[in-house]
C-alpha cells in the first residue's frame, strides 16, 4: 500500500501549502476592498496564471481525460469550448464591463438598469451557478480520495470544503491571487510530467496484445483484470468475451465462467468480473464500443444537437461565471486585460494537451474504467497501471496532488465570489459577515455534493456553464450592446433561461440516480435555453419600452468610451469608497 502513503503525502502537501500561502498573504488583507478586488497592481502574466489556475477545475484535470477515454474525439469539445469562452468574454464583455465600474454581475445589473429587484435576481443566480459549479469539485475530491485509499467519498469532499472555507476566511483574495498563480504551475507540472513520461513509456514498450487506436475493434485488457461493479450498469459488448463473474448478471445470480455474446448485458451492483488477458473490454452503454468510432468525430452516441449545445454553453457560459469575471478587475487597464487574455489562452491550450494524451493512453492501459463507468479516475490510475515501480507510484502521487490543487483552487474562487455577493447583497457588509457568508457559501454545496447523484465531472460542470450562458450571457451582451434593454426584459430573460437550465439540471441529476438514459437536451440544454433567454429579453424589453433607463446614453457612453479617456475614474474611486462603508440597499453604483 505504498501508493496510499505517497499520494496522501502529495495531497497533504498541497493542502498545507495552499493554506500556508493563504495565511501568509492574508497579513495584508485588512479591509473588505482588499478581500474583494485585491488591489489592481497585479501583472498581466501573474494575473493570467491566476485566472488559469482558478479556472482549471476537476472537470479539466480529471474530467477531460475521462471523457477522452470514453468518448474519444468528441470529448475535445470541452477543452475547445472552455478555452474559446475567454475569447467571447474578451470580445464582448471584458473592456466595457470594466469601464462600467461594476465588479460583480449584480453590480452590473443594477448599474445598467437601475433596478434593485433585478440586482437581487442576479445575486440569486450568481449563487446558483457558483453552487452548481462547486458540487462537482467536491464530488471529484471524494472520488480522488476514494480511488487512492479505502476512505469513503464524503471524506474528500469534507476535506476540500474545510480547507477552502478556512483559506478564504483567513486569506481573502489578495492571497488567493498568489495562491491561484502557484496552483496553475502546480497543476501544469502534475499533468505534464506524467503525460510526458508515460508517453515515452508507451512509445518504447508496445505490448503485443495492444490494439492501435484506429482499429474497428474494442480496447483489450493487457493483463488479467478484476473489476468490481459498484452501481448497476448496462454494458455493451462489441466482441464476444469469456469471463469469470460472481454476483448478478441480467437479474440472475452467477458464480463462475460466463460467455457474453455481442449486445447489451445488465450487471447488478456488488458483482465482481474477472477478464483474462487479451479479452476485449466491454464499455458502458452510450460510449463508442470500438476504437474506430472512438477516434472519429460524432462516433460516440452523441447527437449534433448535443455538441451544438455544448459549444453554446462553454463559449457563452464562461463570461457568466462569477469567479472568472471578477479576475479581470485585477488588471490595471484595458490593454493589460487583453494581454492577460492572450496569456490565459496560451496557458489553457498548453494545459489541455496533456489530459488529452493521458485519456488516449488510458484506453490502452486502464480499459476496466470503461466497465465501471468511473472514467474520471483515469488520470489517477494510469501511472501505476503503466509503471509498476516507484516511478509509477511517484507519478500517481503527483496526479493526486494536482487533482487536489484543482479542487482547491476552483473551489476557493467560487466560494470567494459567492461569499462576496452574499455578504454585500444579503448580509450587512462587514468583514465578520464576509466570514459568515464564506461559511454559508461552502456548506450548502457540500450538502448537495454528499446528497446528490454523481455525473461525469465534465458533464456536471457543463450544466453550470449552461446555466451561466442562459442567464448572465444575455444580460451582459444585450446590456452592453443594446440600448433598448429594460429591467423587466432582463429579469424575464434570466427567469426563463435560468429556470429552464436549472430544471434540466435537476432532472438530469434525478434521472441519473435512477440509472436511466438521459435525453441529450436535458444533459446539455444550452442550445434551447440560451436562445430562449435572448428572445425573451428582447421581446419583453420591446414591450416595456417605457422602462428604458433615462441615463442609458450616459451609461452606454461610459462603457464604450475608450479606456484611457478616464471616464471610469469616478467608479473606480467609488468602488474603493463603498467597499469600506458598504451599506446594503444603497443604490451605490448609481453615479
Amino acid at each position: 500500500m505504498g501508493l496510499n502513503v505517497w499520494a496522501l503525502g502529495g495531497i497533504a502537501a498541497v493542502a498545507v501549502l495552499t493554506f500556508g500561502l493563504g495565511v501568509w498573504g492574508s497579513r495584508r488583507a485588512r479591509t473588505t476592498s482588499d478581500f474583494l478586488v485585491a488591489g489592481r497592481g497585479v501583472s498581466a502574466r501573474m494575473n493570467a496564471a491566476a485566472i488559469s489556475g482558478e479556472y482549471l477545475s476537476a472537470a479539466s484535470f480529471l474530467g477531460v481525460a475521462g471523457l477522452v477515454l470514453k468518448d474519444g474525439v468528441d470529448a475535445l469539445w470541452y477543452p475547445v469550448g472552455f478555452t474559446a469562452g475567454y475569447l467571447a468574454l474578451l470580445l464582448f464583455v471584458a473592456a466595457p464591463l470594466r469601464r462600467s465600474g461594476a465588479y460583480t454581475l449584480p453590480d452590473f445589473a443594477e448599474a445598467r438598469l437601475g433596478s434593485v429587484r433585478l440586482r437581487r435576481l442576479a445575486t440569486g443566480f450568481v449563487v446558483v451557478v457558483g453552487w452548481l459549479y462547486l458540487v462537482p469539485q467536491l464530488q471529484g475530491a471524494g472520488l480522488t480520495l476514494a480511488t487512492i485509499t479505502e476512505l469513503k467519498p464524503w471524506v474528500g469532499a469534507v476535506l476540500v470544503a474545510v480547507v477552502v472555507v478556512l483559506n478564504v476566511v483567513f486569506g481573502g483574495m489578495r492571497a488567493v491571487t498568489l495562491v491561484q498563480a502557484f496552483q496553475y504551475w502546480l497543476k501544469f507540472t502534475a499533468i505534464a510530467l506524467p503525460a510526458f513520461l508515460l508517453f515515452l513509456v508507451f512509445v518504447s514498450d508496445r505490448g503485443a496484445g495492444q490494439r492501435a487506436l484506429g482499429e474497428p475493434l474494442p480496447p483489450v485488457f493487457t493483463q488479467q483484470t478484476t473489476v468490481d461493479i459498484e452501481t448497476d450498469v448496462t454494458l455493451q459488448v462489441a466482441e464476444p468475451v469469456m469471463l469469470q463473474a460472481k454476483g448478478e448478471i441480467g437479474g440472475q445470480p452467477v458464480d463462475g465462467s460466463v460467455y457474453w455474446g455481442r449486445g447489451q448485458h445488465d450487471v447488478s451492483e456488488d458483482t465482481r468480473l474477472t477478464f483474462p488477458a487479451g479479452a476485449s473490454a466491454p464499455s458502458v452503454v452510450g460510449a463508442p464500443a470500438d476504437n474506430a468510432a472512438w477516434i472519429n468525430p460524432l462516433g460516440a452516441d452523441k447527437s449534433l444537437l448535443h455538441i451544438y449545445s455544448l459549444i453554446f454553453a462553454t463559449f457563452l457560459g464562461t463570461m457568466g461565471l462569477p469567479h472568472v469575471l471578477v479576475r479581470f478587475y485585477t488588471n490595471p487597464n484595458g490593454s493589460a486585460a487583453r494581454e492577460t487574455t492572450l496569456y490565459v489562452l496560451i496557458l489553457l491550450g498548453l494545459f489541455y494537451l496533456f489530459p488529452t494524451i493521458l485519456g488516449a493512453l488510458s484506453r490502452l492501459y486502464v480499459p476496466q474504467l470503461l466497465v465501471t463507468g468511473k472514467t474520471d479516475a483515469a488520470v489517477l490510475l494510469l501511472p501505476t497501471a503503466m509503471l509498476d515501480n516507484w516511478l509509477g507510484k511517484g507519478l500517481a502521487a503527483l496526479t493526486a496532488a494536482g487533482a487536489f490543487a484543482a479542487f482547491l483552487s476552483t473551489s476557493s474562487g467560487l466560494v470567494m465570489s459567492v461569499a462576496g455577493v452574499l455578504s454585500t447583497d444579503v448580509l450587512p457588509g462587514r468583514v465578520r459577515d464576509f466570514r459568515l457568508a464564506t461559511l454559508i457559501a461552502g456548506i450548502a454545496p457540500l450538502a448537495a455534493a454528499l446528497a446528490g447523484a454523481t455525473l461525469d465531472l465534465s458533464q456536471s460542470v457543463g450544466l453550470a456553464f449552461a446555466t451561466a450562458a442562459s442567464t448572465f450571457c444575455p444580460l451582459l451582451v444585450l446590456g452592453i450592446w443594446w440600448r433598448g434593454l429594460t429591467a423587466p426584459g432582463a429579469a424575464a430573460g434570466i427567469i426563463v433561461g435560468g429556470g429552464l437550465a436549472v430544471a434540466a439540471t435537476v432532472t438530469t441529476m434525478l434521472v441519473a440516480t435512477a440509472g436511466g438514459w438521459v435525453e441529450p437536451l436535458l444533459a446539455q440544454p444550452a442550445a434551447i435555453t440560451v436562445p430562449a433567454a435572448f428572445v425573451t429579453m428582447f421581446v419583453v424589453s420591446k414591450l416595456t419600452r417605457r422602462r428604458i433607463p433615462r441615463d442609458v446614453s450616459r451609461t452606454m457612453l461610459r462603457m464604450h468610451a475608450p479606456d484611457p479617456l478616464g471616464f471610469s475614474q469616478d467608479r473606480e474611486g467609488q468602488v474603493g469608497a463603498l467597499a469600506d462603508s458598504n451599506l446594503p440597499g444603497e443604490g451605490r453604483h448609481r453615479a
Binding site: 477543452p79 455538441i307 459549444i311
Partner: protein, 116 residues
C-alpha cells in the same frame, strides 16, 4: 475611504465633456471600428465551429479520410479549432493595439488638453 474618492464621484468629466465626446466623429469612428471587427469575427468563428460539427455528422467519408497513419481529416480540423481560437485572439489584440488605442488616445489628448 478618503474624501478625494468621494469627491471623484461627482467629479470630472463634467456633462459638457460627455456630450462633446459623444458628438465627436472620431468617437463614432472608434465604435464603428470595434463593431466592425468584433461582430463579423464572432460570426466567422462560431460558423466555423458549427460547420465542423455539421461535417462530422454528415460528411463521414471526408472526415475519416486518413492524412497520415491514424490521423484523419476530422482530427486535424478538430485540432485547428484550438489554433483558430488562438489566432483570432491574437488578431484582436493586434487590431486593438493598432487601430483602437491610438484613436482613443487622440480623442483623450484633445479633450483633456493633454492634461493629467
Amino acid at each position: 475611504m478618503s474624501t478625494t474618492e468621494r469627491a471623484a464621484e461627482s467629479g470630472p468629466p463634467g456633462t459638457a465633456t460627455w456630450a462633446e465626446v459623444q458628438a465627436d466623429p472620431r468617437f463614432r469612428e472608434l465604435r464603428r471600428r470595434l463593431r466592425g471587427f468584433v461582430f463579423p469575427m464572432t460570426a466567422l468563428f462560431l460558423g466555423w465551429y458549427l460547420l465542423y460539427v455539421l461535417l462530422a455528422d454528415y460528411a463521414h467519408e471526408f472526415m475519416s479520410m486518413r492524412v497520415v497513419g491514424n490521423i484523419t481529416v476530422g482530427l486535424v480540423l478538430g485540432l485547428l479549432q484550438f489554433v483558430s481560437t488562438f489566432v483570432i485572439t491574437t488578431l484582436y489584440v493586434r487590431y486593438a493595439n493598432r487601430r483602437l488605442d491610438p484613436l482613443a488616445d487622440e480623442i483623450r489628448g484633445e479633450i483633456e488638453g493633454g492634461g493629467r
